[in-house]
């Protein structure tokens, strides 16, 4: 009856609140997004065919220095942690902002941090991504869960001085518009210039208009080796774990906006002679959703804190966050569409942008079901034998 070690809460309880400095960061990001990222302009940008809002990205990434939050000072970053990065993602989720923050500042940056940062081939691109001067993308399908194993789609020929990469990777988020691709291949991890020879990036019409995906096709594309196979695998897995844990904060932001906007709307919209938000059937749904959002906030903070402190509990915290927050964001966006009535179905109202982001993010970096399966192993609750 003694629980296994992984089910015991860690000795130091996680800090689940936001510090004053984190709230200041939130206020700054929110102010920028309010001025530059109104839903109407998000929609216009999404229809323009541009992969992301370059001006917003510049202000956010280099102007405010948020692209380097995860990177130590001496490597050209801000020397902050996953906790601050999570706050930025909460706000980006609230604004369903079309910027490559998760893909470049989280996934690509953490992948490079997992390599030998004493090596110039790693340190130079890392500093460029941290400074917001270049945009990176990790060339794996966005649906890849942490621990998914070795990449097999890309093969390397001509190893040594001039490795040439060939293969195809589908559903890569942030590839279109990226300057630098980090490509896991059979013999390790490579940096590939996105505009270089042998690289074709084909945008795919994406369910999520604000985080488009693309197919990356490499035909003897020259790459610079960043890490051998063992280290590459560890670096990519660490990046996917950090990405999954921090995506929960973005999902929290999506859910928060959907709940707040729906509460505001149902408090104003009148039918049958009174605000629709005074009908008990709607009130109970919104109160239940509030409860889920409040729990998502605790769960997402727990994952961010675990990543920031390198807690032994990180794998469990991330799996719980992804198993929980993905579904909450989708439910919040679905309720937002439903409780706005016909207006929720229109192209003009931003609710659809949130629904599309929420549903795509639910698939990203492992579905809730995949994360529950991971938990079954992590906390010793195995399934039936067959």
């Amino acid at each position: 009856m003694t629980p296994p070690p992984s089910t015991a809460a860690s000795a130091a309880p996680p800090d689940l609140l936001h510090s004053e400095a984190e709230e200041d960061l939130r206020a700054a990001v929110r102010s920028l997004l309010t001025h530059r990222g109104a839903p109407a302009s998000v929609l216009a940008g999404a229809e323009s065919g541009r992969p992301y809002d370059a001006e917003l990205w510049r202000s956010l990434a280099s102007g405010m220095g948020t692209a380097g939050l995860l990177v130590p000072d001496k490597l050209g970053g801000q020397g902050a942690s996953a906790r601050e990065t999570a706050v930025v993602l909460e706000e980006l989720g609230r604004a369903v902002a079309p910027v490559p923050y998760l893909t470049s500042a989280v996934l690509a940056v953490t992948t490079l941090l997992g390599c030998d940062t004493g090596d110039d081939e790693v340190a130079a691109p890392l500093a460029a991504l941290a400074g917001g001067r270049r945009v990176g993308a990790l060339a794996v399908p966005l649906t890849t869960p942490p621990g998914a194993g070795q990449a097999r789609n890309v093969r390397v020929a001509g190893a040594g001085r001039r490795p040439l990469l060939s293969g195809e990777v589908t559903a890569v988020a942030g590839a279109a518009g990226a300057d630098l691709l980090l490509v896991p291949a059979d013999t390790g991890l490579y940096a590939v210039d996105a505009g270089g020879e042998g690289v074709r990036i084909t945008p795919v019409t994406s369910l999520d208009l604000t985080r488009p995906i693309a197919r990356v096709t490499l035909t003897e594309a020259p790459g610079s080796p960043l890490a051998g196979p063992g280290r590459a695998r560890a670096a990519v897995d660490a990046a996917l774990l950090a990405g999954a844990g921090l995506l929960a904060s973005e999902q929290l932001g999506v859910a928060e906006w959907c709940l707040e906007e729906t509460v505001r709307y149902t408090g104003e919209r009148r039918q049958f002679g009174r605000p629709v938000g005074s009908f008990q059937a709607l009130k109970h749904r919104l109160a239940a959703l509030w409860l889920e959002v409040a729990s998502a906030r605790a769960v997402a903070r727990n994952a961010a804190d675990a990543l920031a402190t390198g807690s032994a509990d990180t794998a469990v915290a991330v799996a719980v966050a992804q198993a929980y927050c993905g579904e909450v964001a989708v439910r919040a966006a679905q309720e937002c569409v439903q409780l706005h009535g016909g207006i929720g179905m229109t192209w003009e109202h931003p609710a659809h942008l949130y629904l599309k982001r929420a549903k795509s993010a639910e698939l990203a970096l492992g579905t809730p079901g995949r994360h529950r399966e991971a938990l079954a192993r992590l906390v010793d609750l195995p399934g039936p034998q067959d």
């Binding site: 689940l16 008990q280 009130k283 509030w290 605790a298 010793d380 609750l381």
Partner: protein, 411 residues
Amino acid sequence: MSSTHPGPADPEAADAAGLRARTAALLAAHDPATTPRLDFLRARFDAGLAWVHFPAGLGGLGAPRALQPVVDAELAAAGAPGNDPRRIGIGLGMAAPTLLQYGTDEQKRRFLRPLWTGEEVWCQLFSEPGAGSDLAALATRAVRDGDGWRVDGQKVWTSSAHLARWAILLARTDPTVPKHAGLTYFVCDMTDPGVEVRPLRQITGEAEFNEVFLTGVRVPDAHRLGAVGEGWRVARTTLMNERVAIGGSAEPGTPGGTRETGLLGLVADTWRAHPELRTHDLHQRLLRLWVEAEAARLTGERLRQQLRRGRPGPEGSGLKLSFARLNQELSGLEVELLAEDGLAYGDWTMTRPEVVDFTGRDAGYRYLRAKGNSIEGGTSEVLLNIVAERVLGLPPEPRTDKDLPWKDLPR
């Protein structure tokens, strides 16, 4: 009342080191190995180490509430006796905070010490057959009678009434005003003539609750809490503390608890011990509930951290909702997991337990008892309305009875 309790100005005691020193002094003067249990508890109360956030002289030191675990840990390590908070939960969780806020100095001095030590058990005479969720509709009358009141009526769902020395009592003192305005709050002596307690048997077979019949019970005016007609305001203090007490008990979502406490722990242990009982459907549901219980635990932990920083959040209202839903789903899953053993039930004999035991006995009992979690202490439906209106600010339900005199309400 005591020679050892500190004066109000005791800055040293307000920090962890000061509390440790005081605890050490208490243990030195009253060795738990040789001191009778009640004597130790009384000495602990008098040393201000019962509930450190209470005022000096009333079992506390005016210290931050968050420092109580410092004292509890030191005393537990020394093998000191506890005050059995489950048996006296209503007194500790509901009567005490209300007495502290609304009681006179004399009432506080009289009631708090034996309440905390468990010498006197309390019960709560609130709910009535015709006034559950709509508690302010209650009909028990209290009529002026010299320097006191004469009380007549019937209460129901009263935990511990058969053990209680005292009750907090909500009664109607003015039927000519709207229902919320005509209530007054009293302390009722359960040993007085006219108080009759009858067991109320429930779906589990046991009689955990009681019906209480009040016939011409005389309550002195000195046992009134708060002003005449202010009973609803006083009762709200009790009710808010009741939800905190229920939502924060040792169950899924317990603030500060570890993983797999309460029913989740029982189900997970059964799961691990019996591979032959596993099915894919049960596995999926168990994993979902595990995640939800962990989310509730972290929500409670976050609330606790907010409180510690002096910024209480509204999440407390939600914890009881989570607790009720999780307990019901987990106990239902447990019955299914047990297969043929799930068809059996431990014992239908009527018993009168002294403590509420959500996790004891067998799976069938837990399944049936958990059904009460979404009814007692505020139904989930009422709590969802409270969240929607007070937290989210949604428009209130139309209320046709709000301004009518109570005597004119259709009943």
